[in-house]
């Protein structure tokens, strides 16, 4: 039970780092070129959702265990 929680926590660390980096490079890009900010935002949301997906794989495995 406790190890399942630890596993889920570790997975979320990875997701947090990944999405943080996406957000940071998205902000950099939007600062460089404000006119395509909405395209960048769309791409950022999609990438964040995909990374969230893989973090949730780990949560599902933790739930099953």
């Amino acid at each position: 039970m406790i190890l399942a929680g630890i596993g889920a926590g570790l997975a979320v660390i990875g997701a947090g780092i990944g999405i943080g980096r996406i957000g940071s490079s998205a902000m950099d890009a939007m600062a460089r070129q404000p006119e395509i900010a909405s395209k960048i935002q769309t791409a950022m949301i999609i990438a964040a959702a995909l990374i969230e997906g893989s973090a949730l794989f780990a949560i599902v495995v933790a739930l099953i265990a």
């Binding site: 999609i46 959702a49 995909l50 997906g53 949730l56 794989f57 949560i59 599902v60």
Partner: protein
């Protein structure tokens, strides 16, 4: 109204008449795991509310395909028993229900603890019941049918710019066409797949939203049911397989690498063919279920701490999480549609010169 309509309406309402069954529950310790599991899982009854310590729920029809034909009865015959004690006898066959799974009574009596489960196929009849989630699915199908047929009709009547319902839905439909279908599938072939992509998008979105509404008749968590997302991903998979052209299968079976790498590349490509829909399935299931678990846990905090002071804090958190879940509802529908369009696009892509 015509006689036929009245009769049909009464038939729909008939199973639900007179079924507010009370529950003899003592004062038990609050168990958050049980509460959460009962909310995100499926159920043969539709829990409406609790009043005075008893739970009132609408029993839904149980439809079983047994070895000797179809057996139908109302789930009120189980008398709220969910642990395999009460035996229901119909047509000479006996059934019990344990954790919302219906078994044959004689086979259940001789089952050990680890044999119990949804996958024990000899001990279970085929269960085609209208459960809480099937009911919710039928409801969302009816809503979608009504919305979109009304929208299509309004185009026939009104030749000018659309107003009202069509005016509200048209930008979304155009969004799916211009941002999802055409960039991924291409100008020439996207039209064939638009019905499927639109259906997937709106169906998943509306089911996600319905799951977020906490009261009857909306609270069923359909997209958090892994069997449902499995079927959605499977349909995308089947469409990809059947629209694969020669270039697609060429890339899978004869990837453009040196021949000595084939024993590695071909199994990798074939497994990759299956992992993509698998990821679709798990992504949608896990996102929606995780969101529901978080919201329910935050609400359970009030009951765990047994203090009214927690409720404004918990209420604010729940509000925040619910707004986030509304974003996730639309986002997951969009991501599912986008990835389906991407996979279909990969399958129908013309051979690009390397």
């Amino acid at each position: 109204m015509s006689v036929k309509k009245i009769v049909l309406l009464l038939l729909m309402v008939f199973p639900f008449i007179g079924n507010a069954a009370g529950d003899q529950s003592e004062d038990v310790e609050f168990n958050p795991t049980e509460l959460i599991n009962s909310h995100i899982g499926d159920s043969h009854e539709f829990h409406v509310f609790d009043w005075g310590g008893k739970s009132y729920s609408i029993p839904l029809p149980v439809i079983l395909w047994t070895d000797s034909g179809l057996v139908c009865f109302s789930s009120s015959e189980f008398h709220h028993d969910n642990s395999g004690q009460h035996i229901v006898e119909k047509d000479g066959q006996k059934f019990v229900r344990d954790s919302e799974i219906i078994y044959y009574a004689d086979k259940y009596a001789s089952m050990s603890e680890d044999e119990k489960g949804a996958f024990n196929f000899e001990a279970r009849p085929l269960n085609f019941s209208i459960t809480k989630q099937v009911f919710s699915m039928i409801m969302s199908v009816i809503v979608l049918l009504l919305l979109f047929t009304a929208m299509a009709r309004s185009y026939k009547k009104n030749k000018m710019a659309p107003k009202g319902l069509a005016g509200f839905l048209e930008p979304i439909v155009l969004f799916v066409r211009n941002e999802v279908a055409i960039p991924n599938i291409g100008e020439k072939k996207y039209a064939k797949y638009m019905p499927y992509l639109l259906t997937v998008f709106f169906f998943i979105w509306i089911n996600n939203l319905i799951g977020l509404i906490p009261f009857f008749p909306f609270s069923a968590n359909l997209t958090g049911n892994i069997y449902f997302t499995f079927v959605m991903a499977f349909i995308t998979f089947v469409i990809t397989i059947f629209s694969g052209n020669k270039a697609y299968w060429g890339h899978i079976l004869t990837p453009p690498v040196p021949k000595w790498l084939y024993p590695i590349m071909i199994p990798v490509e074939i497994v990759g063919m299956f992992t993509k829909p698998f990821a679709l399935m798990v992504r949608l299931f896990a996102n929606i279920t995780a969101g529901h678990i978080i919201i329910l846990s935050l609400v359970s905090l009030i009951f765990i701490f047994k203090s009214v002071a927690i409720s404004p804090v918990s209420g604010l958190f729940v509000l925040f999480m619910s707004v986030l879940e509304m974003l996730v509802a639309a986002l997951q529908a969009y991501v599912f549609t986008l990835l389906s369009a991407l996979f279909i696009g990969q399958a129908v892509e013309e051979h690009a010169e390397h």
